[in-house]
Each structure stands twice: as C-alpha cells, then as structure tokens.
C-alpha cells in the first residue's frame, strides 16, 4: 500500500485566478493515477474475485446444506449485508491490528459483496427450470456434475449484469478505505488538495478516472452478457 506521503511539489503555482490550472493538473496526475492502480483498482479486482467466488459458494451451500445449517448461513449472510461496509472495515481494523489494512480491505469488500452476489446467484439458480434438474436425475448424473455442467452455467447467464453492477458499486465504495487509512485515490487527491490549497484539479482528476474506468467496464459487462446468451 502507499503511505500518505506529503506531496512535495514545487511551491504552489501562482494563483492565476483561474479555477483550473493545466500545469498543476498534469503535474499531480501521475500520483493520483498511481493510487488508482495500486489501491482502488487492486481492491476492486481482488474484492470482485473474492465476492464472485464466495458468493457462489454461499448460494450453493444454502441450497445443499441441511436445513439448520443453511438457515444459519443465510442469517449470517443477511447480517453482513445489512451492516454498513464502513463499520465492518473499522471492526476488522481495530480488532485485528496486526493485519495489513489493504488485506482488511480485500476481505471486507470481498465478503460484504459476496453476500450481495450470493442473492444474485440464488435468483439465477432458482431460474433454472425444474425440468433441467429432472433431466439430470433421469440421466443419473452426480450432484457435482449437475451443478458444474448444468445448473451453474445456466444460472450464470442471467446473473452477469447484476454481478457486474455490484462490481461497479464496489469500485465506487473504495473511498471508504480512508477510514482504515488506506491511501486510495480519493484520499490521495484530497491530501494533495490540502497541501496545496488547490482541490479542484485533484478531485476532478479522481472523478474523471472513476468515470473512465466505470464506463468501459459497463460496456464490457454488456458484451459479456451478449456472448453468454445462447446461440440462436
């Protein structure tokens, strides 16, 4: 992770009276971009991978575990989903002081969003027609093969857009990492602003980077969704 180091640019550019100073913007851009790549994007990618896998495991477990266990699992997932992300970050931060804050970020974002994604998967699994399950039974397919070859592939098809939207939500939640002093992009931008008394450029750049990343992601999700649709 990047420590929040004092930004050592040359003295503040002459106040020109302009709100936007291009030279200054270009000067601070690399620093903000670095925070984006090394923290914001990293947490989003790792968090999304954890959430997507763990969410699927949770959804399947709720279906296959014996009732009391499934009930406990569903209740635990609801509890995590209904508690604010920020609180979860703080609990781990102060509860596990030996843990690297960035790791806490991975875990909290991953687990928190896993509980949302598990609901998406659950709906996807429920949307697989009963006849598909019956066909697997009529062919004596094992439970493992049934899930892997029939249920999950069909369930995923309808879940991709919602999962993608949660990934984008997670991305937009990364500024919350500031509560556990991780120097994610917005925090870095803000620090630059505080040290130079020029907030406009720093915060605008951060916002534009967010937009530049979310928009193509949304397009990508769209294309993936189309590719997953059955050939007709």
């Amino acid at each position: 992770m990047i420590p929040v180091a004092p930004f050592t640019a040359d003295p503040v550019p002459e106040p020109t009276g302009n709100i936007w100073n291009w030279d200054f913007a270009i000067e601070i851009f690399p620093e903000i971009l670095r925070a984006f790549l090394e923290v914001t994007l990293l947490v989003t990618v790792v968090g999304t991978v954890i959430a997507a896998l763990l969410g699927l495991v949770i959804a399947i477990m709720i279906r296959v575990l014996p009732r009391p266990l499934a009930f406990v699992l569903r209740w635990a997932a609801n509890f995590i989903r209904m508690t604010p992300l920020v609180v979860q970050l703080l609990v781990l931060y102060y509860g596990f002081t030996w843990m690297d804050p960035l790791t806490i970020g991975f875990i909290v974002f991953g687990v928190h969003y896993a509980t949302y994604m598990s609901e998406v998967y659950r709906a996807g699994i429920d949307s697989v027609p009963k006849g598909q399950w019956e066909a697997t039974k009529a062919l004596s397919m094992s439970a493992g093969r049934t899930w892997r070859r029939v249920v999950i592939p069909q369930a995923l098809r309808s879940t991709i857009p919602s999962l993608g939207n949660y990934a984008i939500s997670m991305f937009k939640d990364t500024p919350f990492l500031f509560v556990i002093s991780v120097a994610e992009m917005v925090r870095v931008a803000q620090t630059i602003g505080a040290q130079t008394f020029r907030y406009t450029e720093a915060i605008t750049i951060a916002g534009l980077i967010f937009l530049a990343a979310s928009y193509p992601t949304a397009l990508l999700i769209n294309r993936l969704e189309k590719r997953l649709a059955y050939a007709n």
Partner: protein, 264 residues
C-alpha cells in the same frame, strides 16, 4: 415378495403403491407388473395419475406408500422387520441408471451442444471413453434422423428435432426401461408422426421395456403389448390393445376413448 436373483422377476413391479400430495391421494392400492421387453401404455383422462406413475419409477416423486421393484430389487423402500425403510441413495442410483425417461418438454440442456447433451452421462455416469460415447452418439443421431446436428445448440432446433435428440440422449444410456411421458404433446402436429416412427423403430429393434403415456391411440395400438386404462388413480381395465380399443368392457373406457378419438 420377490427376491433379487429370481430370473422370472418382472422388470417393474408396483406393490400396494400409494402416492399422496399432501392430503390429496393420487394413487391408491396400485398393483401391477411389467415383464422384460413388454411395452405398456397408460391411458386415461387428465389428472388420473399417469405421469405420477412414470415419475415414481424415475424417482422424481417420493413414494408415500407401498413398494416399487425394478428387476426384483426395491427401488426406493424395502420392508424390513415389518417396517418400511428407505433404500440407500447409492442403491437407488444404481437402479436408476437402468431407467431412462423422455419428457413432454424435452428438457435438453441448452448450454451444451446436441452431442454434449448425449455424451455427458455415458461418459460421467457409465464411464465410457469419450471416443466410444461420441461414436455411439453419432449413430444414435443417425437413427433419429439428425446426423448433421451434433454441433448445434438445442434451442436452434425445432421442437420435433429437440425431442428426437432427447430420445437419442435417453437411448445413449442403454436403459432397460424407457419411460415416455406424452412425448409428442408439445409438438406441432406435422412432426408428431416422425417422432412416433422413431419410437416405433426403437420398439421394433430393441428389447427395451417401455412404459408409455400417450394420447396417440394408433401409436399405442401399434407398439404396446398391454394397455392400462386409469381413472382417479386406479386401473379401470387392462388388456391387449386390440381388446381395449375395439371392445372395451367398461363404460368409462368407452367414454374416454370416444372423447379422445373425436378430438384426434
């Protein structure tokens, strides 16, 4: 009660079968048996329990009373010390492997190609090699008249073609027992004949035991050795198709047949 090794044991035997959905008793005191290679057609008005019988054999429904034997072995429950106890899942699965089913709605896997649909279970359930399963799949596709559809996806096929693939998929498992539940009811009238001809051909060329539910009376007459007329979860009358169709003994059968034949 028949013992497992008895050579004369029927392929399917229903003993005092009862099926309830909640409080609704759908089948009661049902006793009948089917011999090896026999083709039995179940007819009767909608709601009389025909589908339920097939689904009980396929273990898609829970048997709430009585016993079903396949090759003389208890399919879901056995009697032990005067009590009815469930058969182990492993044992159930072993017997289930001998039974195949074709559904009214085909139930092909839309995420797989036609070929993948057919070879999935032979490879992963029966342990065939991929080459072996694929060769067999191609010959079955030939048999059902779809030799060039192996790499297509099911949803790109017409209903009649999908049902023919479903028949090939069931046959690929080399079932001893084939259950056919109104397999032409969801099809356009002009393709019904093709599908029935394929089944006639299967009946002529194999010794597979068939339990058939259909409203296609001429098909039933052609392929079945025995016809059972159901009403309200009970067998009203049973016999050779010639007898049932030309000279039914019961008023209920007459009434049902005249209604079906009028619709056709």
């Amino acid at each position: 009660m028949p013992t497992p090794t008895e050579p004369e044991a029927p392929v399917i035997e229903f003993v005092d079968v009862e099926k309830r959905f909640g409080d609704n008793i759908v089948l009661k005191d049902l006793n009948f048996s089917v011999r090896r290679g026999e083709r039995v057609t179940l007819i009767g008005p909608s709601g009389s329990g025909k589908t339920t019988i097939l689904r009980l054999v396929m273990t898609l429904e829970e048997l709430t009373g009585g016993y079903i034997f396949v090759d003389g072995e208890p399919l879901t429950h056995r009697e032990k010390d005067g009590k009815r106890v469930a058969v182990s899942p492993k044992e159930q699965k072993r017997l289930r492997t001998r039974i195949g089913m074709v559904f009214q709605q085909f139930n092909l896997f839309p995420n797989m190609t036609v070929l993948e649909n057919i070879i999935e279970a032979p490879i992963h359930v029966l342990g065939q090699s991929k080459a072996e399963a694929t060769a067999k799949a191609h010959s079955l596709l030939e048999q059902v008249g779809l030799p060039d559809k192996a790499d297509q996806h099911p949803l790109s096929l017409s209903g009649g073609q999908q049902q023919r693939v479903a028949i090939a998929r069931a046959l690929a498992m080399d079932p001893e027992i084939l259950l056919l539940d109104e397999v032409t009811s969801a099809l356009d009238p002009e393709v019904v004949g093709d599908v029935l001809n394929i089944l006639r051909n299967v009946a002529d060329t194999t010794n597979v035991t068939m339990l058939i539910v259909t409203h296609e009376m001429s098909f039933a007459r052609d392929v079945s050795h025995k016809v059972m007329m159901f009403d309200g979860g009970r067998v009203v009358e049973e016999g050779a198709p010639e007898k049932i169709f030309s000279d039914p003994s019961h008023a209920r059968t007459k009434q049902f047949l005249s209604a079906v034949l009028r619709d056709a």
